[in-house]
Symmetry: C2
Subunit: 204 residues, 2 copies
Amino acid sequence: MSIEDPAKPSPRLRRSPEAAKENILAAAEALLVEQGPQSLKLVDVATRAGVVNATVLHHFGSIDGVQTALMERMVRQLVEKVLETTTPTGDPVAMAGIGMTAMFDAFEGKGAARLAAWLELTGESRRLTLVREAVREVVETRISQRVPVPAEILEDFMLVCITMALGAGLFGATLEGLLGKPAGRARELALALLLSRAELATAG
Amino acid sequence: MSIEDPAKPSPRLRRSPEAAKENILAAAEALLVEQGPQSLKLVDVATRAGVVNATVLHHFGSIDGVQTALMERMVRQLVEKVLETTTPTGDPVAMAGIGMTAMFDAFEGKGAARLAAWLELTGESRRLTLVREAVREVVETRISQRVPVPAEILEDFMLVCITMALGAGLFGATLEGLLGKPAGRARELALALLLSRAELATAG
DNA sequence: CCCATTACTGACAATTATGTCAATAAATGA
DNA sequence: TCATTTATTGACATAATTGTCAGTAATGGG
């Protein structure tokens, strides 16, 4: 006999469909961030979420369904996070600084850059029309009307900014280690470089 | 009966160990570039190389052995490619331009950026002491002695440069598509940004 | 309280991927 | 020519991963 009561029928927890999915996706996201995309195994995700694999399949149909849902969730979170910190102020340069900082934060924290890299490697980056729309909204609605800069140049600037934010978010820590630089140096330098450019553009 | 001679004993091809490994690694690299790291299945690599999986295992021991060998091969190629195009000239700014262009080329072509992302995602980026040594050699031996800039600043510059080269190499094409920009625009803008900075640094 | 719905589970089937092994055949040297 | 070595192979064994299904148990509506 064990110490525990032998006849212990596990108090089965029943969530709402939304809560169940949320629980599973949170577990999947944690695994993605901690161990990389190749560790997104069905059983691992289920175990992490405190359920069995059949439960995961019940809600998402397949492991691909989990991955797709996770992608959408993370993209949505990223976009919201950037948008909510992109409230227009009077000063264009200060605004650029705030917006870019928010972007760097978003890509670095919670593994958004890792997710983007995963999408890129698996060739699933086509599904990102959501991102396209978000970027367009940021450019047209939030920045373009306030800043005396042609949309063309603004888009170019966004392109460089996102490229650097992704690069810094994904490789920053490793590169800093390889070069013996303090943590956060890549991000710091990239932001400074971009900001100097922003000042130039608005001043000219 | 088939059209072919029914008793056709396949003319078995026997390579030297080196050639056999090279053949397999080339196939693996092609698969990595074309379809991403998760397509590096034992059977797929073998089929692509025109052999059976047992042959691959004979030479590399396991699929991990293949991946490790492929990593080392690609890193070596990348380092060589960068080093060979980093021949010092008289003009520091021109040198910076040439060196950075070479770096961007190296990371973009043949999926070096994809490899780096893969290493990052799989958490294998520690093995990159090879890269560390190469970077140090570039900084100390090839640049530092020729350019009147403190090593500190030079290292910072390398950090940003590599970050951007990786970002552009990995995400450039997709981002350009999402933003409706012409191909190569991210790389172009990044290089321009870095070059303007290099001019500033050497002028100051 | 009772019933219908459905989230959840355990056990098992199916599929896929990796690895083993004895036998075969291509090169090399004696 | 003959023997040794070993790159190569097919068939098979093992493991890992995904997916199926009938049954169980929370939950909410009547």
